[in-house]
Symmetry: C2
């Protein structure tokens, strides 16, 4: 088989055969297909698409490029969650302990952030002592004991995806539904979970800006799950405004702890409960109400044990920023919009995210919203706190927020958070 023939096939809008897909993924993983050849193929896939059977096979070939985790019997049903990424999306932090408190086990293998959406591991690493890397044995033991693990994905899991994802990032080939769907699902299937709930974000702060594209992505992933024996549900949720009030690493940990103690912003609580409900349904646990468990604070001790098991001190003070300043209202009126992308880019520029993989993030940097949509404000009133260790970054953050906080004279309310569900 020759890679140029495979590229020509997709370039000329033909289906790739099973043999072509298996070969090209394996050859790329071992380095026989060069980055420039895979980049050309990825662009041809982005522009000419793949059908459901091709996407399923592509996913399987990526799974087959590495190991499938075998966690063994941890004494509870395994169920996992994945978010396509959004601004202020700390839901994994309260969700994993909550679902564990309700009786399932959550093996949450996560990544670091790149661009304006934060990474779950970056957030947890703001907790003194916490470590992201666990062995397979440690993951299994922690699942059996506590029911929740949030840790770094292992290098042996779908290595083709790791390589391809890094390539797509620099070659303008990220926004392909077949490639996004197969990337996410290959890792989740290889992880060995038996149920998966997807939080597919739509809006300015999400990858998918339109509901049609988000729905297509959700349906594609649910279909891949079905074809691979993984019970999968997708929720379509709003990402036109940030989730909660906190955007940044330590800031989001603090807000998550509020939620785990029975408080916190309503949207974070609502989404955490909605996702928990779907996960418990896939796990076959129907006699527990996650809303009640969360409100009671019963999930908080699970969080403490989960953090402590990975070396973290859940009672330690979180880092605070050297420099904090306010963004104030330039007029009186009603908050009508808080643009997720603007706030996400501001937090990123303040140091919460990274521009390149090798960059470090600031634990304490980010943005803290002081108001919500629909609130009346006076001119000069603080709307948002900017937190950073590098004061020079503030100007760039303020520029990103230009027009992001909309004040009108009309009443306003938040967009609906839960838009729809896609079930297999």
């Amino acid at each position: 088989m020759h890679v140029v023939d495979v590229i020509h096939a997709k370039r000329d809008s033909h289906r790739l055969t099973d043999e072509q897909i298996d070969w090209v993924i394996a050859a790329y993983t071992r380095g026989d297909v060069a980055d420039e050849q895979m980049a050309s193929l990825a662009m041809a896939i982005l522009l000419n698409g793949m059908d459901a059977a091709e996407i399923s096979r592509w996913t399987q070939a990526m799974i087959d490029s590495g190991e499938v985790l075998s966690l063994g019997d941890v004494g509870r049903p395994l169920v996992d969650k994945h978010s396509t990424g959004g601004v202020g999306d700390k839901i994994t932090l309260p969700l994993a302990p909550l679902v564990a408190a309700c009786g399932a086990a959550v093996p949450q293998l996560s990544g670091r952030g790149l661009g304006h959406t934060g990474g779950t591991l970056d957030k947890l690493e703001s907790i003194p002592g916490w470590r992201a890397s666990l062995s397979l044995e440690e993951i299994a033991a922690q699942l059996a004991d506590i029911g929740a693990v949030i840790c770094a994905t292992t290098p042996t899991l779908a290595p083709a995806d790791r390589k391809l994802y890094a390539l797509r990032d620099v070659t303008g080939t990220v926004e392909s539904i077949p490639l996004i769907a197969s990337s996410i699902m290959s890792k989740k299937i290889a992880e060995g979970t038996s149920g998966l709930v997807l939080d597919v974000k739509v809006g300015s702060g999400a990858f998918m800006k339109s509901l049609d594209r988000a729905r297509e992505l959700a349906e594609t992933m649910v279909a891949i799950g079905g074809g691979h024996g993984l019970a999968t549900t997708a929720l379509l949720t709003d990402m036109s405004v940030p989730l909660g009030r906190a955007v940044g690493n330590a800031l989001e940990v603090a807000e998550s702890v509020d939620v785990l103690r029975g408080g916190g912003p309503a949207d974070v609580v609502d989404l955490t409960v909605a996702l928990a409900r779907e996960m418990l349904a896939l796990a076959g646990i129907t006699d527990v109400d996650p809303a009640k468990v969360l409100a009671s604070g019963e999930a908080y001790p699970v969080w403490e044990r989960m953090i402590a098991a990975q070396g973290g001190d859940p009672t330690a003070a979180l880092p605070t920023a050297k420099h904090v300043e306010n963004v104030v209202a330039d007029r009186s009126g009603v908050i009508a919009g808080i643009d997720a992308l603007g706030v996400g880019v501001a937090a990123w520029r303040l140091g919460a995210g990274r521009a390149r993989k090798e960059d470090a993030v600031q634990a304490a940097a980010g943005a803290l919203l002081l108001v919500d949509i629909g609130e009346s404000v006076e001119a000069g009133q603080p709307l948002l706190e900017l937190h950073t260790d590098t004061q020079d970054a503030v100007a760039g953050a303020r520029a990103a927020l230009e027009g992001a906080l909309l004040i009108t004279d009309e009443p306003a309310e938040r967009a609906q958070l839960l838009i729809d569900a896609v079930r297999s």
Copy 2:
């Protein structure tokens, strides 16, 4: 400027701006844009196209990546020819001395062959002693003295094109009219000629299999020439059958010498004269009939001087193959088809061409046709000689010829050689 933004623009079917084109070509040439990024952009260009203004700017940016040759005043009008490549296409060999004999100067900077079409330099290197590399001063002196130079292109000429061409070859992005046209024209414009005649091939042995695509390529190149002040004419010519009887390096040199001495196959003579006529028209030489000059043998002494000036011995015996065997007619009838691609691939496999850039070619390998379309043959009659130094290669060559030599009971004649002309 960021390369991913440039890729996104073309991926999303936007025009590239002048600034984007200038920047991406310059950054690719100096290595700041990686091969995988240019490969992705090339595929986006192939699938989404470029308009005339983008193609013109792309060509200029490739010219600007290197030097423009300045040959100075050689005492004659400079005019050049380029063929898009075909099987048995040795036309440059008789054409350059012929046009020189008619009073113009031909600076023919050529390449080596890759795939089933031979390279002009490979052919000439079958002449004992001949060398392809000349300095700019040697080229200018030889043009002033003899009027014809066929030599290797210099590394300083459009280096972006050299790099991009090698990349396209391995990434399935060769067959893009904007990229083919800008590649050819950037080199020819940088060469500093004042007139250019293009031989755009169409048919099984050519890059362009359909007349529509060949015409689009011809029109695109003529438009680029016009936009850059280079008088350009394109002939559309048939490449469904090989040109002449000889396909291979030394075999084609021998046939070219026959033509220069006033003999040779009619199609080679006709195409050489037609191209010479167009070149002389662009050079403003209207009082010489190249058909008469060629028939008289007056161009042959120019050939001898041209070869000798580059160290070659024009009177030396050409290499002959260690092994020659026949392909014979499997039935009696009339030769109705000689497929150019089949014969080209056979000659390639016999050793006349290379599969990879670093391969060597055999000087004596190739195929020699013994019959022409329309000729009656008897079963068992030899139709074609296979020449090679590696007898093992014969089976592969025979396989490539399967079905390539068509014998019918009906009368048959060659397709029209000269299909059309495109002039600015």
